[in-house]
């Protein structure tokens, strides 16, 4: 009995200690999790041949037991926490940044501004994005300074003390406005259109002449976030040999390492990038975000430095899916055959290029749909605006154009009095079809997929 009381008291005091630690946001010794030591192996994992087996994932067990170590679960002795100051203004010239008050704040070990970064630009196609804006702010989520402190709260408090003087510039948010000649230029250059693509196959004007009906419609899509369960997170540790080790939630460590090498002006063999098990990517973790900033903060302080994005950081400063404006014009024969199609795509590229080039290219090629169209003309443009930058996201422009070409297809089917499934069968790619870029296609199963999905749905029998 007395022992029980003692144990209970001990547990309570431990718990209150833990609570106190939680309040201080200090790293605590995590509770030991018990797990079965004898593991059972799912039969599908042990069978041969391996291909085609419904083999379970080795990481599944770790996830299920809560044993997976994400970046946020990793601690190193003496580790600091970094936070990024956001501009909160969408287009402005930075007149001055004063971090002196922030540096005097309790727990603050170092600050960093863009001018301290050896090569303050990155990007997969064009290096048009600063790690921390040092001259011009181009969207409200742009980082302008970073702080490393003993706790996250101390770093957040210090951000408030950073003084920045801005000279506001005229912003432009609408891609159609931004395309105009007299629009404010977001990056130095003659135009906000930073990428354009064209596909021409056959003779589209002749195709329209040969058509019985012409249909036109404009479609638009919105900006969305990837919303991975794990936000962007990294830990940087600069060692005594001048090597930097980065634990990161990136999905592409080879490119990440090259970007860190370029921005820090370090040889590639002095950078080690380790990706943990990433808690969701969907295209949003293809590029570096804070990695070089953390590396420099670690170099300044001689301590490991961690930064985990809040959900808000994730929304306002990481890449998103491109909003599109899609103008479709399609010529049809009265039997329901697509004779010609003209498409104009404008993609809102946000403040920086990121993966817009690729998104635009894929959207352009895919915009005709999985259909045989002999006469095709697609023009596509990516435009800078003073909004959160858009980049890679599951589908690279395909969900946008698919929404347009499939909505358009149903409208045309209705006008022509053809069943939606039927009109797709009539126009679908077959083995040996030629793609919009002239590529001969093989292993084509569009009609098989139409048949399978509609049969499973019970398309023909279905009644309202």
């Amino acid at each position: 009995m007395a022992d029980d009381v003692k144990t209970k008291e001990k547990t309570e005091s431990l718990e209150s200690l833990r609570k106190a630690d939680d309040n201080l946001r200090l790293p605590t010794v995590p509770e030991r999790t018990l797990f079965p030591k004898e593991i059972g192996i799912a039969p599908a994992r042990e069978q041969t041949p391996a291909v085609g087996q419904r083999a379970t994932r080795p990481d599944g067990r770790m996830h299920g037991l809560g044993q997976t170590k994400y970046i946020d679960d990793m601690f190193f002795p003496g580790m600091l926490h970094a936070k990024i100051k956001r501009a909160c203004i969408s287009h402005a010239k930075i007149k001055s940044i004063d971090v002196s008050e922030a540096e005097k704040m309790p727990g603050v070990m170092a600050t960093l501004i863009g001018k301290e970064i050896p090569v303050n630009s990155f990007g997969p196609s064009y290096q048009d994005q600063p790690l921390l804006a040092d001259d011009i702010v181009r969207h409200a989520g742009d980082g302008v300074a970073a702080v490393a402190a003993v706790t996250e709260q101390q770093a957040l408090d210090a951000l408030e003390k950073i003084k920045i003087v801005y000279e506001e510039l005229t912003p432009v948010y609408d891609p159609m406005e931004a395309m105009k000649d007299d629009a404010v230029k977001i990056h130095n250059g003659e135009s906000n259109v930073y990428s354009s693509k064209t596909i021409i196959k056959g003779d589209v004007e002749q195709g329209f002449k040969d058509s019985d009906f012409i249909f036109e419609k404009t479609f638009t899509t919105q900006m969305v976030e990837h919303v991975p369960m794990e936000p962007h997170a990294s830990i940087a540790e600069w060692d005594a040999n001048g090597r930097v080790t980065l634990h990161t939630s990136l999905g592409r460590i080879t490119l990440g390492r090259a970007d860190v090498s370029r921005t820090l002006d370090l040889p590639i063999n002095r950078i080690r990038m380790i990706a943990t098990v990433v808690g969701g990517n969907f295209g949003g973790k293809n590029e570096i975000t804070t990695e070089p900033i953390l590396a420099l903060l670690s170099k300044k302080t001689g301590r490991p430095v961690k930064c985990v994005f809040t959900r808000e950081d994730e929304f306002i400063s990481s890449t998103t899916r491109h909003p599109f404006v899609m103008e479709y014009k399609t010529g049809m024969s009265k039997e329901g055959k697509i004779m010609a199609r003209k498409v104009r795509l404008v993609c809102d590229g946000g403040a920086y290029c990121s993966w817009s080039e690729t998104t635009l290219g894929k959207a352009c090629i895919l915009s005709a749909g999985p259909y045989n169209i002999d006469n095709l003309h697609v023009d596509a443009y990516a435009v800078y605006t003073n909004k959160t930058m858009t980049g890679a996201m599951r589908g690279f422009g395909a969900p946008q154009v698919c929404f347009a070409y499939e909505s358009h297809m149903d409208d045309m089917a209705k006008e022509l009095g053809i069943e939606p499934l039927e009109i797709r069968f009539m126009n679908a790619f077959n083995e040996g079809s030629t793609s919009p870029t002239g590529q001969l296609l093989e292993a084509v199963v569009v009609t098989d997929s139409l048949k399978m999905a509609s049969e499973r749905f019970g398309w023909k029998e279905w009644q309202k």
Binding site: G52, P171, I200, T220, L250, I271, A275, E442, A453
Partner: protein, 340 residues
Amino acid sequence: MKHRGKGIGCMWYPIGFTVLANPSAATVKVNEDGTATLLTGTVETGQGSLTVLGQIAAEELGISTDDVHVVSADTDTTPMDTGAIASRTTYVTGNAIKLAAENAKQILFEVAAPMLDVRPDQLEAVDRKIQVQYFPQRCLPIADVALQAQFVMGRPPIGSASYNPPTVAMDSETGQGKPFSTYVYATQCAEVEVDDETGQVDVIYMSAAHDCGTAINPMLVEGQIEGGISMGIGYALQEEMLFDDDGKQINPNLTNYIMPTSLDMPEIDVDIVENFDPTGPFGAKGVGEPTAVPTAAAICNAIHDAVGVRITSLPATAEKVLKAIKEKNGGEQKALPAAE
């Protein structure tokens, strides 16, 4: 009143980068007990890629999935990889792994050939054995061959290889070229229920038939499709980042940025279209991104079928759908019964 409708969305999607090189390299080491270790620079981002890649290595070596341990994503120790992007992992990294495993297997065959009294090209790796083709009773456990290779012959069975999909640059004026090595195809059908008094859209049921070439792991393919549909539903009906007049986001949080939850998920039937791509590892292509592509199209077509309004701007929120219904009905406000 609630109206039901059906809609279809069909799509095609490429595997790998547009024209640009996007290579993967891999190393496969067969251990002296016949198990293996695979080194890859790609990153597991939740999709189960490491399981699939392990299965590819296992298949080539004739061993089981559990016999292969996969080491990934450390630039100091794993070979170059373009990474988890462009639905390329199964196809490009998978091809590199298959070639690497083939190279390791070749060493096993060369060591096993004199033990079995045949030429190396007469051998195959099946069911954890190295055996003579068409004469399976002459065989050796892979463990015995691996042990012999490493400790007697002094030839550790290690293979490395790389792969990059073959493309042809696109013409700058006409866009003509071969930008991708291969494509996948898919169809999704949606059944929705639309409330004409509120504009609320509920997705009741979806069927999805996706081509991914050979399904290396059908369970993980199904998981991808179900996940893609959930993302597609959010894209179709709910998700939208909104900005104020000063260009600041007004809903940068999960309270005001509405995403589908498990309660928004319809019943889903998934089918994998049987296909074999001769250029992919064991006929496989990919499935990651395409699963989220046709969902919004299918749902919007179903809304059109249900209430006769064409949504031309995503997302099809209740407000937008209701507005479109009212416009269609000539702007007449339907009289609601007075509250009692």
